[in-house]
């Protein structure tokens, strides 16, 4: 069971709970490097690192926000929800027939993921073809004004 703690800068801290063993009223939580124990007593929740010294815990639910001094985390149990995906490869291939209208880079340029490489006019739309990865433009195989079929390799970006 993996927990994700996502802070205000969208950085993750991952905590892996490998196993839970329950022995009577005490539950044993086996993490990658440490083991923790927890139990209920008189309607409250207590935890311990050695089953000797016990301290009170707050009672939390998944999906809540927890704070560690100055850092605020959103806590996700079992999965990190999908937000804005980034998909895409270094090879830019035409998806449909079209005409190259404008090029913004040349071979050897460094590009960032999401940067517009060229404009392809197709389906009566000016489609911005964007780099799927950050890297260097290995090759630019088309020119402005060129009419292309579907499935043509327009550029290659090497990461």
């Amino acid at each position: 069971m993996r927990y994700y703690f996502v802070d205000q800068d969208r950085k993750d801290t991952v905590v892996d709970l490998n196993k839970v063993e329950t022995n009577g009223s005490i539950s044993k939580f086996i993490f990658s490097e440490k083991t923790f124990y927890a139990r209920r007593l008189a309607g409250k929740l207590f935890g311990s690192w050695d089953q000797q010294k016990w301290f009170k815990l707050t009672q939390l639910s998944a999906g809540e926000t927890v704070v560690s001094n100055t850092v605020t985390y959103k806590m996700y149990r079992g999965f990190k929800p999908s937000g804005l995906f980034s998909g895409g490869a270094g090879a830019l291939v035409t998806q449909m027939p079209g005409k190259v209208v404008k090029l913004f880079v040349k071979a050897g340029d460094t590009v960032e993921k999401g940067q517009t490489i060229l404009i392809l006019e197709a389906m009566k739309m000016e489609n911005e073809i964007k780099a799927g990865v950050s890297g260097v433009v290995k090759s630019l195989l088309v020119q402005p004004g060129q009419a292309l079929e579907s499935g043509v390799l327009m550029a290659e970006i090497e990461e």
Binding site: F5, V15, F29, T70, T72
Partner: protein
């Protein structure tokens, strides 16, 4: 007085505190909830719950016509304004008086007298209360400024008349300094506040903020309940308060002097109900009147703890012209020491407000702790309201014991889900100069305790959170 209906025109922890006093005196506590706080925790202590429509403070707690409507509709006999909101609104007090509704606070004339900084200073001077020496108004030229400075004595502060928040002021230690800085401060004042007017004031060095609690009845009897020291402040807001003042310490003569001075002023303006006279005291142990707060204050609990006197109950009794719980000034005795830490929803390093939702709330306190708050698990603190969510007060046999107890209480206060200043409070309470009681209002700026706050807890604290969630899954 029994059975009289009192409207609490406030919310949060002070509303709870007021309700406690009203309930114990046999009055009917009428609490208010607004549209932006339908789950108002303070209602738990109120006997009657009344809806005040509106989504902002301006529309609700600060809306006099709406409150007057409520008073009429629910046949209210008296109003307790708490602190903030309408507590120092002289017009409101006057209106209530005219309508025959009791305002649980001082009379309108006293509010007016002490409400304006300039007017209150005049009253103080008339009453023979020392005020910060300085110009009575603007000082137009360098020459006049220097003449004044020579009378007052250096060091002095050149201050913008329209200034505030610590801006537009420069200390000067000699005539030459005044000559150098006069025009500079004028320019700063003009650009920051649009007004180039300057005044001159004595510069109190290593200042302490010391205030005296006043309680008076309607028969002209004015009492003091000793002093408090509130020098630990940031952005001119108090974070930690103590009673009595560690700076005054064992100097009973000084204590008597400052407390009786406060009483003198209160008597001079015909004060009744509870109030606080604020002084500034330099390391030369000379004190000067700053202003008077004509209301019950946030930090009143520490005075209650060292005197054993219920300020709220007596405030209410005074308003209803009932005899107070004690008879003479000598009945009020000082026992031990008390410290209050204000728990605020804010970043412990930047000290900026950080609203949020409480994910978990647990307390494990030592003996001698009082926690005045309006918290509950899943409570959401919104930017609408003050970031202070509670006051942690410890009473001890002496100052060291009080510090020990409040420090342990901070360890036992678990508030998860939002940033709080608890880590900062811990740093301050552990810090040497605070423990010795050697601090002034420059403490935060000088010692910079916020820089000693760890950015995060140890990584193990995340494992503990995981275990807590898992235990809840079953």
């Amino acid at each position: 007085m029994l059975g009289k209906r009192v409207l609490i025109a406030n919310r949060g922890e002070i509303a709870i505190r007021i309700a406690k006093a009203l309930n114990e005196l046999g009055l009917v506590s009428v609490g208010v909830w607004t549209d932006n706080e339908p789950e108002a925790a303070h209602l738990e202590y109120c006997q009657e719950w009344v809806h005040l429509s509106g989504n902002t403070n301006r529309d609700t707690y600060l809306n006099v016509p709406k409150i007057l409507e409520l008073i009429k509709k629910y046949k209210i006999d008296a109003v307790h304004p708490g602190y903030g909101f309408l507590s120092e609104n002289g017009e409101f007090a006057k209106t209530l008086k005219a309508q025959g509704v009791i305002f649980i606070g001082p009379n309108p004339e006293a509010i007016a007298a002490m409400g304006d900084k300039a007017i209150s200073k005049q009253w103080a001077q008339k009453a023979g209360v020392p005020v910060v020496p300085g110009s009575t108004g603007e000082v137009p030229t360098v020459e006049e400024a220097i003449k004044l400075c020579q009378t007052i004595g250096y060091p002095v502060l050149l201050k913008a008349v329209a200034g505030g928040g610590g801006k537009g002021m420069r200390p000067c230690y000699s005539d030459a300094d005044v000559k150098t800085n006069f025009e500079a401060v004028q320019r700063e004042a003009l650009s920051s506040f649009g007004n180039a007017g300057l005044l001159v004031e004595k510069y109190v060095q290593n200042p302490h903020h010391i205030e005296v609690q006043i309680l008076a009845d309607k028969k002209g009897n004015v009492y003091h309940l000793f002093e408090r020291e509130c020098s630990i402040q940031r952005r001119h807001q108090k974070i930690i308060e103590e009673a009595p003042s560690p700076f005054i310490g064992e100097d009973t003569k000084l204590r008597k002097e400052i407390c009786e001075t406060a009483v003198k002023l209160a008597k001079a303006v015909g004060y009744d109900s509870a109030g606080t006279v604020e002084f500034i005291m330099g390391d030369d142990r000379k004190f000067y009147f700053l202003e008077m707060n004509t209301r019950i204050q946030v930090e009143h609990p520490i005075t209650e703890e060292i005197t054993g006197i219920d300020l709220l109950a007596n405030m209410v009794k005074s308003a209803f012209n009932q005899p107070l719980d004690f008879k003479t000034q000598d009945d009020i005795k000082l026992h031990g020491h008390a410290i209050e830490c204000r728990i605020c929803a804010e970043d412990p390093v930047t000290m900026l407000p950080a609203p949020g939702k409480i994910a978990g709330f647990e307390t494990t306190f030592p003996q001698g702790i009082r926690f005045d708050h309006c918290l509950y698990p899943k409570f959401t603190i919104t930017p609408d309201f003050d970031p202070m969510v509670g006051k942690l007060i410890a009473r001890g046999y002496d100052r060291a014991v009080a510090i020990r107890k409040v420090r342990a209480a901070l360890d036992g206060l678990l508030l998860d889900g939002l940033k709080t200043n608890i880590p900062l409070l811990k740093v301050i309470l552990d810090e040497e100069s605070f423990k010795k009681g050697e601090y002034t209002t420059h403490y935060i700026a000088g010692v910079k305790p916020q820089e000693r706050v760890a950015i995060t807890e140890k990584p193990e604290s995340l494992l503990v959170r995981v275990a807590s969630v898992e235990m809840g899954q079953v």
